[in-house]
């Protein structure tokens, strides 16, 4: 564990996300729908923060605010010491220091995988196409993705597509990676392998990860900290530091400590799930 950390320590101390009593109200501020209610949260640099909550609870609203897709009604979000959004600036500017990996994937289907991967640096004019391609090839090879550079995303499996998308994000050398339930559509076995691959990537690049999920097992397996959210409006219910040793592999899910952690959090999550479930029933 220690060696992995040391190697990357130089890059580790950037990319803190601090959310300070964020509020998001849809519609009229007085009587609108409160999606996020005074939510405060800090994601330490170079760590994986897992945000767990039932679907529709407003986690994605939070992510959208960080990424700059949506505005906040009040509150502030900081990246390191820079204010992304806050008083006087309700909406952050989207930028390549915070890159989102979407729930259903957003590789451009009309571009080959390598064209997708070089999209960021080429668009920003940071790299010429040729240099970008060289770099992309190296990065894809590191991630075990050689040989599919010139395929279209539609030709590879959805698991591989997510890995390409993460490489596309990393090409921009972002401070933060924002993942919005990226593995939801995958079956649980593929998911388990995807998790190991993501962890490996994170060890290598040591970037801050903000990962939304409603799968508790996924959260504990991947996370350095797990934040459990209440269902609508979204607030932090419980914050749990995960002390499982790194590097982790999938055998850890059957370890005693892992199960203790599951046990500790299960009730909190279950309670919120029930709430959301009933809410859904009533609406239907």
């Amino acid at each position: 564990m220690q060696t992995t950390l040391d190697q990357t320590k130089a890059r580790a101390l950037r990319g803190t996300i601090r959310i300070e009593s964020a509020v998001k109200v849809y519609g009229n501020p007085q009587n609108g729908v409160v999606a996020v209610d005074h939510c405060s949260l800090e994601c330490p640099p170079g760590e994986i923060s897992m945000v767990v909550g039932p679907s529709g609870c407003g986690k994605t609203t939070l992510l959208n605010a960080i990424a700059g897709f949506h505005s906040l009604t009040s509150g502030a979000i900081y990246l390191d010491d820079e204010m992304l959004c806050g008083p006087g600036k309700p909406k952050a500017d989207p930028g390549s220091d915070r890159i989102v990996v979407f729930q259903n994937g957003a590789l451009f289907p009309w571009k080959t995988n390598i064209e997708n991967v070089i999209f960021g640096p080429v668009m920003q004019g940071k790299l010429a196409v040729k240099e970008a391609k060289d770099k992309a090839r190296t990065m894809m090879a590191e991630a075990g993705l050689s040989g599919i550079e010139n395929d279209y995303p539609g030709q590879i499996s959805s698991g591989v597509r997510r890995r390409v998308e993460i490489v596309r994000a990393l090409m921009n050398d972002p401070k933060v990676l924002l993942l919005d339930e990226p593995y939801r559509a995958l079956d649980s076995l593929t998911k388990s392998v995807m998790h190991e691959s993501l962890l490996e990537t994170c060890y290598r690049n040591r970037i801050t990860v903000f990962f939304i999920t409603h799968d508790l097992e996924e959260a504990i397996f991947l996370g350095d900290q797990v934040v459990i959210m209440t269902s609508r409006p979204c607030r932090t219910k419980k914050l749990l530091k995960i002390d499982l040793p790194h590097p982790r592999d999938y055998s850890i899910v059957t370890s005693r400590r892992f199960r203790e952690l599951m046990d500790e959090t299960m009730d909190a999550v279950h309670e919120e799930a029930m709430k959301a479930f009933e809410l859904g029933e009533r609406e239907g």
């Binding site: 039932p54 679907s55 075990g144 993705l145 040989g147 599919i148 030709q155 590879i156 499996s157 959805s158 698991g159 591989v160 939801r184 559509a185 079956d187 649980s188 076995l189 593929t190 388990s192 392998v193 999920t213 409603h214 799968d215 508790l216 097992e217 996924e218 999938y250 055998s251 899910v253 059957t254 199960r259 599951m262 046990d263 299960m266 009730d267 999550v269 279950h270 919120e272 799930a273 029930m274 959301a276 479930f277 859904g280 029933e281 609406e283 239907g284």
Partner: protein, 298 residues
């Protein structure tokens, strides 16, 4: 056969019928004689009477194919499928499938969906209405009898589909990854819910999944399948006490032991399909179906 149907229909309101399904040396090839491709390779297993058998394997390994064979939507290339010792050849209501994504008829309300099967078999009137209400009540959808499927949440759709299958009293219920695509939390609730349904009915179920936790939580017997082409790797008996609760199973040592065993086999299988291009199996079958579907257009 006719006799059996009549008795089952007669005993509608009692405990469900239950049968035993045997798969003997079944293989399935797709493609042409020039390019044959084995999807299911010489599988033999028994879905035991009144037990919940769970089949688990990586996605794209051909599990859905075997479901189609069991329901006789397709015929095996070699081997036979036997229900209570008799060979099955046609789709029938003694083997009903609950599909991966909801196959509720979107143009019918919950109630109409549920009574579709019995009505098609000529049953009607107040006894049917009562049975339907009973089943809908059992899955907790009484208030949603008049809702169309797209007005129901994902979890409710799955329950409506369970109800639609249950009212037909199938000898075998086949569930093909019924909770896939639900979010993890709803899924947990649905699993507990389904386990309860099964425990109350004690009919024969075959449940197909890729989720190890789901499998161990639900199963009486666990069939672990290998990657494309589908083969039976191992059968594990799960003798956790019933009724089960999710929280108990997660913390139980016995379940954990089982999980470790199963994971070691499955992880290896998953890794195989993780290699770039694991879509091949799906891809192949999909394009096959596109091509050889009856009336495939030019």
């Amino acid at each position: 056969m006719v006799e059996a149907t009549i008795t089952r229909a007669g005993t509608m309101n009692e405990k469900s019928a239950s049968g035993e399904l045997e798969v003997r040396d079944v293989s399935k090839f797709y493609g042409t004689d020039r390019y044959p491709k084995t999807v299911v390779d010489n599988c033999s297993f028994i879905v035991k009477r009144s037990k919940l058998t769970v089949m688990i394997g990586p996605s794209g390994s051909g599990k859905s194919t075997i479901v189609r064979l069991l329901a006789s939507f397709e015929q095996p290339s070699t081997g036979v499928v036997l229900l209570d010792g008799k060979k099955v050849t046609k789709p029938d209501r003694d083997r009903l499938v609950v599909f991966q994504e909801s196959a509720l008829y979107p143009w019918m309300t919950t109630y109409e969906n549920v009574v579709f099967g019995p009505k098609a078999q000529g049953r009607q009137g107040e006894p049917l209405a009562e049975a339907a209400r009973g089943v809908i009540d059992r899955v907790g959808l009484s208030q949603f009898q008049k809702s169309y499927p797209n007005q129901l949440s994902g979890g409710m759709q799955r329950r409506a589909e369970l109800a639609r299958a249950l009212i037909n009293n199938p000898a075998i219920m086949i569930l093909d990854e019924p909770f896939r695509g639900l979010d993890a939390m709803t899924k947990g609730l649905m699993q507990e819910y389904y386990a309860q349904l099964f425990e109350n009915s004690q009919s024969t179920h075959l449940f197909v999944t890729t989720d190890i936790d789901e499998a161990i939580f639900l199963a009486d017997r666990l069939l672990i399948m290998s990657n494309f082409p589908l083969r039976l790797r191992q059968v594990i008996d799960v003798d956790l006490p019933r009724p089960r609760r999710l929280a108990d199973v997660v913390t139980s040592d016995a379940a954990n032991q089982l999980k470790m065993t199963a994971l070691s086999i499955l992880h290896e299988e998953a890794l195989k399909s993780f290699a770039v291009g694991n879509q091949m199996a799906d891809h192949f079958i999909e394009s096959y179906k596109q091509r050889y579907r009856p009336d495939a257009s030019d």
